[in-house]
Every structure is written in structure tokens, then in C-alpha cells.
């Protein structure tokens, strides 16, 4: 069966700098993939390129989603096809309320109870009438992001460091909502993790490492994480060579 997301030989530049270099990645249906990689290795760039932001310059390669080429599509079209991106640093937008956006994303032909449940699960009732991302704590931002993307009903969730700046309690709350959505709708996820905490909460059987612009390792995520803890990313390059 065709993978849900299929990336081939993707080369991406920001300005003059090549960030991703002939990168290949497949994500199957109902598969959770954890993406590791050192700081500034291009993990967020990869998510941005999948989403289609135009400051990422695609030099060559292809990105297919559910068998369709994405490269000619604008971010909003990609989102409507089923890609949901959780931002690591979402912008503050004054005058737009979280609830206003939530309603817009959810649409009016769905069961409002479902939305209310999600708001409750994520403990967001008190933030609904606040301006988007204005004066929110780290945990509040992540929960608000998660609410928005789950209301979009994506088939592929791109989560950029969902646990960063979030206390353990909030990681648990978020993971519960993510797991519930993943299992119920049999969707796929690509999760960038720096700390690995998320592994304790989200069942993922595939991990990979982004290094020097390429995906260089496919392993059980817990195994990758313990190796990174032990040896650091510096060893990643050598490890790949050895295995070859």
C-alpha cells in the first residue's frame, strides 16, 4: 500500500543555505513517527516544507500526500487535504479569539458536543474568549494549538516539539487527546521531539534522525533516544557509516 506521506530526494534551501539535502521519508497510514535531530538540523524546515510555506525554497524532489503531489498547493489547500501542523512558536494575533477560530475550523455541520468535549479535555474553557496566543504560558499555547489542529480533522498530524515548555501534567493531558484522536481516526503523526518525554505517552514504533539534511536512521524511537542520550548526535554520522 502506498504510504500516506512520501518524500523523495527533497532538497530545500532557505536563502542560500541548503537545509534539507535529497531527503527521503515515508509515513504509512496509522503510523506514528518520532523525528529526532540536533538543533538547527532542519526538523522544523521539514514540517514547514510539507506544509508549503513559501520561505522554504524547494530546489528539487517531491512530496506526495495520499498519492497526490503537494508541491503546487498553497498551505491552506494542503491543510484542507488533511495535514495539520502544530506550531512551536505560533504568532500572537490580536482581535481574533481562540473560540472564533475554533468554530471556523470545526465547521457548523459537526456535532458541537464533540468540540466542547475536546475543549474540556484540554482544559481550555477559560481561554476561549482570549486573543490568539496573546499572553499565554507554554502549556496554554500547546493546548490551544492542539485544539485547533484536532478540530481541523487532519489525516496527518505534524507536531513540532509538542512537549517543549510544557509541564508533565500538561504533557499527559495533551497526550491523552492525541492518542484518542490517533486511535479513533487511524491517522498518522510526525512528531519532532527534543527531550524524548513524549515517548512515555505516545505509542510510536518508528523513529528516525535528521542529520546533515538527510534522514539517516530508522529505529525504534526508544532505542534512538537512549543512544542519543548516551552518545549524543555527534556519533550519528559514524553510526550510519558503520551500519552501511
Amino acid at each position: 500500500m502506498e504510504p500516506l506521506l512520501k518524500i523523495r530526494d527533497l532538497t530545500v534551501k532557505i536563502g542560500e543555505e541548503t537545509i534539507l539535502n535529497k531527503l527521503n521519508l515515508d509515513i504509512d497510514r496509522h503510523q506514528n513517527v518520532i523525528l529526532f535531530g540536533p538543533n538547527a538540523s532542519g526538523k522544523s524546515t521539514l514540517l514547514g516544507a510539507i506544509m508549503g510555506f513559501d520561505n522554504y525554497n524547494i530546489i528539487s524532489g517531491s512530496i506526495e500526500f495520499a498519492g497526490k503531489n503537494l508541491l503546487d498547493l498553497k498551505p491552506d489547500e494542503r491543510a484542507r487535504r488533511g495535514i495539520g501542523l502544530m506550531f512551536q512558536h505560533p504568532p500572537k494575533i490580536r482581535g481574533i479569539k481562540l473560540n472564533q477560530l475554533a468554530d471556523l475550523l470545526y465547521g457548523d455541520n459537526k456535532d458541537p458536543e464533540e468540540k466542547n468535549m475536546l475543549v474540556k479535555t484540554l482544559n481550555l474553557e477559560y481561554l476561549l474568549e482570549r486573543d490568539l496566543n496573546v499572553n499565554l504560558s507554554g502549556g496554554e499555547i500547546k493546548r490551544s494549538e492542539l485544539l485547533q489542529i484536532l478540530l481541523q480533522s487532519p489525516k496527518l498530524l505534524l507536531l513540532d516539539e509538542p512537549e517543549s515548555g510544557v509541564d508533565i501534567e500538561n504533557v499527559a493531558v495533551m497526550s491523552k487527546a492525541i492518542n484518542r484522536y490517533i486511535n479513533r481516526h487511524k491517522v498518522s503523526t510526525l512528531i519532532i521531539s527534543h527531550t524524548g518525554y513524549i515517548l512515555d505517552y505516545i505509542e510510536a514504533n518508528e523513529g528516525c534522525v535528521l542529520y546533515s539534511g538527510k534522514i539517516i536512521c530508522h529505529e525504534k524511537p526508544k532505542r534512538i533516544f537512549s543512544d542519543i542520550k548516551e552518545y549524543g548526535y555527534e556519533e550519528c554520522g559514524d553510526c550510519r557509516d558503520k551500519e552501511r
Binding site: 506544509m51 510555506f53 520561505n55 498553497k74 498551505p75 491552506d76 491543510a79 484542507r80 501542523l85 506550531f87 505560533p90 504568532p91 494575533i93 490580536r94 482581535g95 481574533i96 477560530l101 471556523l104 475550523l105 486573543d131 485547533q148 489542529i149 481541523q152
Partner: protein, 380 residues
Amino acid sequence: MWGLPGQGKVKALIMAKNIETNLPKEDQEKLEKVGLDFSQKSRSATFIQQDDSVLFNKSLLEGIEIEPIEDAWEKYPELKTKYYGKAFKTIDKDYPQDTRGGYFIRIKKGVTAEFPIQSCLFLNNKQFRQNVHNIVIAEEGSRVHLITGCASSKAAEEAYHLGVSEFFVEKNAYLNFTMIHRWEKDVEVTPMSVAIVEDGGSFVSNYISLSPVRNIKMYPTAVLNKNCKATFSSLITAYKDCLVDIGSRVIFEGPGSSAEIISRAVSFGGTAIARGDLYSQTVDIKAHLECQGLIVTETGKIHAIPELRTNYRDVDMSHEAAIGKISKEELDYLMARGIPKEEAQSLIIRGFLDVNILTIPEEIRNEVDRLADQTLSGGM
């Protein structure tokens, strides 16, 4: 709610009939879009003037008088001597005296109006020059909201509106004045207003102009005595070939007062000038000015001119001003949520012109919000 239930007595709970103005449906709709409630169900009093004739005036609350100004002077010549021109004299400003029409509104001592008073000034003739003089007196301890909607019909090509307004907020009174403008693009408008706020009084001014107009120029001023509060908030837009020059000035004459001026200006290719002037002639006051501008089209002018002036050391005065464009980051963010670019842009502009910066009760805020939605979706 915007105040305690009225000490004045409601004359008629429900109006039997709608306002009979003989206005065609199109014009009625236009007036509804500047906040006029024809049913009067949620209003304490109503005044409607078209060109220079008064179409309707009625108060539903004892303790509120609303009349064509010439009638009021006939009835109360002593009030004319006491109030007419006095606010302008206080700040040594000339004002045109060749006016015809306008409203006289008096809220009697201690009266709280549960529902706002509404007034409407309507231009309906080609090249008509509407010059009105309005007087509002909020007597000691009274509390009231006044919504004034000003609009012009399609017929009123190249018409002109001059509104001279004087507000007298007496001791411990509260007057909240919301003005909604919806002109046509070849109309010129020059409102002139001065509010005199006596000890312990509060004056709130909200101004909303979201549709095209050739030229609006105004610099409403409030003079504060001791322990007063004043707030000026405005949401303005300047479309192509329009000049919108809006200022707000607060002059502090007594200590213990505070004031805030907030404005949001959006240029869709026209020129918006956002002025603000806080001037302290006393000690112990607090004043803040905030003006933000957004330019949507590639060319468009915004000129933010915030001024702070004081004659004394012991004051607390500050201002902030910023002009920018729609940020790519915000657009990307909303697009990544599946919202098409143009819709995302409108959302951001609409968010920028946030009715929550206005100081108005929730009920009126919701109305204004709805009116702003209608106006902007038509304009953009």
C-alpha cells in the same frame, strides 16, 4: 447591563408603532447600519434629522428630554444663555453659528437610563450642506449612553456634513457617546465637538468609521476638571482617494483625573491621520495614548501624531504608536489552518479593528461588532 435600572420611569414599555419617517426601505436599512433601532425597543429616546428637517424625536424615559435644538431654545431661553457655545468658549475656539437643526438632549439630575439614547443625522440630497449644532447635558449624577449614527444616501452626492456638538457632563455624571459614521465616498464631513467634564464626571467617546468617505476631519476635545475620567477610542479606515484625519484631545484642568486615547487606523490605499493630544495644565493626572496603524495595500498613508504636553512635573503620561502591515507569519499560520489567503487577511484586519478596544456595554458592543462585520465585508 450598562447601569442600574432607571430611576426615571419608562413611559411606554413597548412602542406601539415603528418610527414613521416615510424613508424608503433602502435608506432605513442604511440607518440601521449606523445603529438606529427603528423599533426603539432597546432605546430610551430617539432623534432623527434628515438634511435640515427633523423627522422624529421622542423620549421614552421620564428624565430624558430630546428635542430639535431650536425648539429647546424657544422653550428654555435661559438654557441657551447658559450652555450655547460655552464649551467652545472654554477652549477659545471659534465655531460656526450658521447652523440649522441638531439635537438638544438633557438627562436630568440623578437619572440613569437603562437603554441608550439614539440619534441619527442623515444626508439625503445632492450637494446638501447639513450644518447642525447639538447640545447634550448630563446633569449631576446622571448616567447615559448615546449612540449617534451619521449616514448619507446614494442621492446625497457631494454633500457636506458639519456637526457642532457640545457635551456638558456635570458633577459625577457619566456620558458615553458612540458615533458611527457611514458616508458615501464623495461626502465631506467636519464634526467639531467639545466636552466639558465637571468634578467626578466621566466622558467616553467611541468613534467608528469603516466605510469610504472623501474627507473627514475632526479633533474632538474633552476638558477635565477634578477627579474625572475620559476615554477616546476610534476605529477608522481610509479607502483609496479618502482622507480621514481623526484626532482626540484631552485637556486636564483639575488634579486626580485620568484619560486614555486609543485608536486603530487601517489604510486600504487612502490617507489616515491619527492624532492624539494629552495636555496637562495641572498635577496628579494619568494619561495614556495608544495608536496603531495597519496598511493593507502596497501604497497607503498613515500618519500617527501622538502628543503629550504638560506644564507640571508630577504627572504620569505615556504613549505608544506602531504602524505595520499584515504579517506573513500570521497569514501563514491561518493558512496552515486551512483558511484561504484572502479570508485569512480579512480575519486579521477585522481582528485589528477590534471593537473590544471600545468602552461600551456588551450589548452595544455586539451590535457594533455586527455592523462592523457588515461594513467591512462590503468594503474589502
